[in-house]
């Protein structure tokens, strides 16, 4: 199977421009090194790759694999002065003539190439747009900087670009500021900006990682369509093998700055050659594989209704007041959580899924006692509402939380041993000697060694830190652990190991989990029951099988459909787009959101009827 034959594509994806037109970008022997305290260290070593015209090349790898550094090296935007290109060439070719080596180009000439011939979009659309300038001004200015169009023409081009990325009412949007747009809209603006100048090469560094899964689907499809129309070559950098399968013609797998494997998407997924690629693919959570827990699921759902539940939440409301106006009075209210009820039995994992802003994290915070709420939270048979401060502290021992970002949730100035011992100390458990033994045991239990107790959080990797957080949560032997997006920030292989650890701990100690995630594949893997949240309310709840094999609510269906399948042979048909933005949970005072009624479809499968 020859590379770039251009006829191997399956499904709906057929590029208009032939891939055989020769490479547009050639990287050979690229070595990038970063100067640290211990001297220079290569972050990209001897990388060679070519990018054909109209092709989508995915560079995939886990954090620290050097994939982002490669992108920055192409753009000549390496962090200065620490990083530099040590050797190698990056040749940008014209269609007819030779080309220029970007690695040796001075800043002034490089600036003309950036944006005009190579454009880049970044992971976080909010940080890469200037928050104090309207998007119209930013777009028009970037067009003016690279062309000699008049202001009026540049404006027309900007509107065209916004229309091309399917932003409704493009003209009036020009006056809006980045914060007035949702994450998906912002990323579209970024894409519009990148494509307005019709570059030869578009580098997209994790363009959808910060977006919700349904929005991700839309943005990916948009990228694909635009590429087909313009014949742009795309380098897509991602850690998500699902995205790779969805988008790539060819794939480069990187690890520790080196290319591990290169090939067509179909080859990489069907016949991976390198061990690392195989491991990476094996670690990817897939929908439809979470069968290990099936047997007990039925009986669990019955158990959950019994009074033995570790936590019962009844008609929980969380509101945040927004002040405004001249006197700063409360005039609007965010209805973050709007009357949800569920219960969790021992040994059970209830997953709470939904997209950002649906109130799933706020629910977790209410359970953990971090935000004030209305309604009832009953833990271990005791309603928190009627308890005094000390009693509440005692009851709260049974509920522990693991946060999303293991880098942010550990005090960087404390030794990890002290951090894990802290809950014991606070609740006055065990003497000093016993405590340090308990902590050592916890360390070993979560797969760390007791010698590491003396270290500080920054000396650990993300996965290890999350293990420390787990050890900390386990220290009080809680009945319920709330895992708020606890594996979302981790690389897939690490994610798989942390999920395994969580399952093991559940088997061993009978802990119940409230597992909060936006990742449907992970949820299917770990949960017994699933509750889908939308705008602060539960729209569907049932056992994992009920929800995944028989989703009844349109939103649930949409969520499941939006997950990219890590298999290029099973590319999805066109993804139904939401043309309007997701409505906001912010309402004026006195304006109550409509309450959804849940209907039982049998065996505890609840669906909202509208």
């Amino acid at each position: 199977m020859s590379k770039g034959a251009g006829n191997k594509r399956t499904g709906v994806f057929v590029p208009a421009v032939s891939v055989t037109a020769g490479p547009v970008l050639e990287i050979s022997g690229l070595t990038v090194s970063v100067r640290g305290e211990d001297g220079e260290r290569p972050v990209v070593s001897d990388l060679s790759l070519t990018l054909a015209r109209g092709e989508t090349l995915c560079i995939a790898g886990e954090s620290g694999s050097g994939k982002s550094m490669t992108a920055l090296a192409i753009m000549q935007l390496l962090p200065q002065p620490a990083a530099r290109i040590e050797s190698g060439t990056i040749r940008l070719r014209d269609i007819d003539r030779g080309g220029i080596d970007l690695a040796g180009l001075d800043e002034r000439r490089m600036r003309r190439i950036r944006g005009d011939r190579i454009a880049m979009i970044f992971q976080e659309p909010m940080t890469s747009l200037n928050p104090v300038l309207s998007i119209g001004r930013q777009l028009v200015e970037s067009i003016e900087a690279h062309t000699d169009l008049s202001r009026a023409d540049a404006r027309r081009r900007a509107i065209e670009a916004l229309k091309a990325v399917r932003i409704p009412e493009a003209e009036s949007r020009l006056k809006q500021f980045p914060h007035e747009l949702s994450g998906g809209m912002r990323q579209r603006v970024m894409i519009a900006m990148a494509l307005a100048l019709k570059p030869d090469v578009l580098i997209a560094d994790e363009p959808t990682t910060a977006l919700d899964v349904t929005v991700q689907g839309e943005v990916l499809e948009l990228l694909r369509d635009l590429q087909r129309e313009h014949g742009t070559s795309v380098i897509l950098i991602t850690h998500d093998m699902g995205v790779v399968a969805e988008m790539a013609d060819r794939v480069v797998i990187m690890r520790h700055g080196r290319m591990v494997e290169e090939g067509t998407a179909a080859d990489i997924f069907a016949r991976p050659q390198a061990d690392y690629t195989r491991e990476l693919l094996a670690a990817v959570p897939r929908i439809g594989t979470g069968v290990g827990r099936q047997k007990s699921a039925e009986q669990k759902s019955v158990e959950a209704e019994m009074p033995g539940s570790v936590a019962v939440v009844n008609d929980l409301h969380v509101h945040f007041d927004l002040r405004g106006g001249f006197f700063g009075q409360v005039n609007r209210r965010v209805h973050a959580v709007e009357g949800i009820s569920f219960s969790i039995a021992p040994h059970e994992t209830l997953a709470l899924v939904g997209e950002s802003g649906c109130g799933k994290s706020t629910t977790a915070k209410a359970l953990a006692g971090l935000v004030p709420y209305y309604g009832d939270i009953v833990i271990g048979g005791r309603n928190l509402a009627g308890l005094g401060r000390d009693q509440r502290k005692a009851v709260r021992r049974d509920v522990q939380m693991i946060f999303q970002d293991p880098y942010a949730s550990l005090d960087p100035r404390m030794r990890v041993g002290d951090l894990v011992a802290e809950p014991l100390l606070i609740h006055g458990i065990a003497s000093k000697e016993e405590r340090s033994q308990l902590v050592a045991a916890l360390f070993e239990r979560v797969g760390l060694s007791a010698d590491q107790m003396e270290l500080y959080p920054h000396e650990f990797s993300g996965g290890q830190r999350q293990r420390i957080c787990i050890a900390r949560a386990l220290a009080l032997k809680p009945k319920l652990i709330i895992a708020d997006e606890s594996v979302s920030a981790l690389d897939v292989s690490v994610q798989a190991r942390v999920l395994d650890l969580l399952k093991e701990l559940q088997r061993e100690f009978g802990i119940a989990y409230l597992f909060i995630s936006h990742d449907m594949a992970v949820v299917e893997n770990i949960s017994d029951r699933v509750a889908v949240m939308y705008l602060g309310q539960i729209v569907e709840m049932g056992t994992r099988d009920q929800v995944f094999s028989n989703p009844r609510h349109p939103y649930t269906k949409r969520l499941i459909e939006a997950v990219p399948v890590p298999d290029p042979a099973r590319r999805r048909p066109r993804f139904a787009r939401l043309d309007q933005e997701i409505p906001s949970p912010t309402r004026k005072i006195g304006e109550e959101p409509p309450k959804l009624a849940l209907k039982d479809l049998g065996n505890g499968h609840l669906v909202a009827v509208s």
């Binding site: 305290e37 211990d38 915070k365 953990a368 006692g369 971090l370 502290k393 709260r396 021992r397 509920v399 522990q400 939380m401 946060f403 999303q404 970002d405 942010a408 949730s409 550990l410 005090d411 960087p412 100035r413 404390m414 030794r415 041993g417 002290d418 011992a421 802290e422 809950p423 606070i426 609740h427 000093k432 000697e433 016993e434 340090s436 033994q437 308990l438 902590v439 050592a440 045991a441 070993e444 007791a450 010698d451 107790m453 003396e454 270290l455 500080y456 920054h458 000396e459 957080c469 900390r472 009080l476 032997k477 100690f509």
Partner: protein
């Protein structure tokens, strides 16, 4: 789950988690910090041993301390740093003045720092009406001219060194409180503070174990900046007749007495000025080193 694992882990019994040890030792290893320590030690020793170091009395107006025209003498063999307008030995006055200035620069400044930090941390963490009230009070203090307040306070109370120190502490905490407040309120939003609350940590524990250590760099910077400002504020107060009464020497009032003669007798301003600078610099060097030593994220990066 405790019983089965205890026997296989004898190692942990032998190495309990140590508190921060060797801060001094690590301080000594840094050349710049060492310079700072030496300067502070010299100033302190000079202040304590002042009566025995030079053969002069700080307040004695010597006949041979002035030229025949009545002008002060520049530095020479018998008066190492020269003499002042009244024929007093400048070196002796600086040594005795160090007593006053150290008390002001360290004690008064330290108290101001302490008040500022406590107010800022409390207001920043608790917000609500406590925070509101504290910060409005801080704003009030800020709006009030510090000098006027100091004059009022000092006029009501009997002027003495300790009163001056107290007055300085009471007017100088405001800026610290503001800065600490802002920093605390952003720290309180960080996720690890939420994490502490979920394990049931009490407010004092969060404040003192988890927030305060993060404020250390700011506190150190404000502390070292405060040394020179407070020393000079003392001089201002003394000049206005509220502070240390003449003929008692302090670095600030030596400068103030002589600044109009700067062109004719520059040494009279230069030497006490250099002393203030050296002391502030010394604390700055120590502070910088301490900040790095106490910040664990700076270690083990190799």
């Amino acid at each position: 789950m405790t019983s089965p694992i205890a026997p296989d882990l004898p190692a942990t019994g032998r190495m309990p988690i140590k508190p921060r040890a060797g801060v001094w030792r690590r301080l000594f290893k840094r050349p710049l910090a060492l310079i700072g320590l030496v300067i502070v030690a010299v100033v302190v020793a000079g202040a304590i041993l002042a009566p025995w170091l030079t053969g002069y009395d700080p307040n004695e107006q010597m006949f041979d301390g002035l030229t025949l025209e009545g002008a002060p003498l520049p530095p020479n063999a018998s008066f190492w740093l020269g003499t002042d307008l009244l024929g007093r030995d400048l070196l002796t006055r600086i040594l005795f003045g160090a007593r006053t200035s150290l008390i002001i620069g360290i004690v008064a400044n330290g108290v101001a720092l302490l008040i500022g930090t406590l107010v800022g941390v409390t207001a920043g963490y608790f917000r609500g009406w406590i925070g509101g009230a504290l910060m409005r009070f801080t704003d009030l203090m800020m709006a009030f001219p510090a000098l006027l307040l100091a004059i009022c306070l000092a006029a009501v109370l009997q002027p003495s060194l300790w009163i001056v120190a107290m007055v300085i502490a009471l007017v100088n905490w405001v800026q610290t409180a503001r800065v600490i407040y802002t920093e605390t309120s952003s720290l309180a939003e960080r996720e690890f503070i939420d994490a502490e609350r979920t394990i049931g940590a009490s407010a004092p524990r969060i404040l003192f174990r988890h927030i305060l250590p993060h404020l250390l760099p700011t506190i150190i910077v404000w502390g070292t900046l405060g040394i020179s400002t407070t020393v000079l504020l003392e001089a201002t107060l003394s000049y206005l007749g509220i502070g240390v009464q003449p003929p008692t020497a302090s670095w600030g009032n030596i400068i103030f007495e002589n600044q109009t003669y700067f062109q004719a007798a520059p040494w009279l301003v230069f030497f006490p000025g250099a002393a203030i600078l050296a002391l502030a610099l010394a604390f700055n060097l120590i502070g910088d080193a301490l900040r790095d030593i106490l910040d664990p994220t700076q270690r083990g990066r190799a």
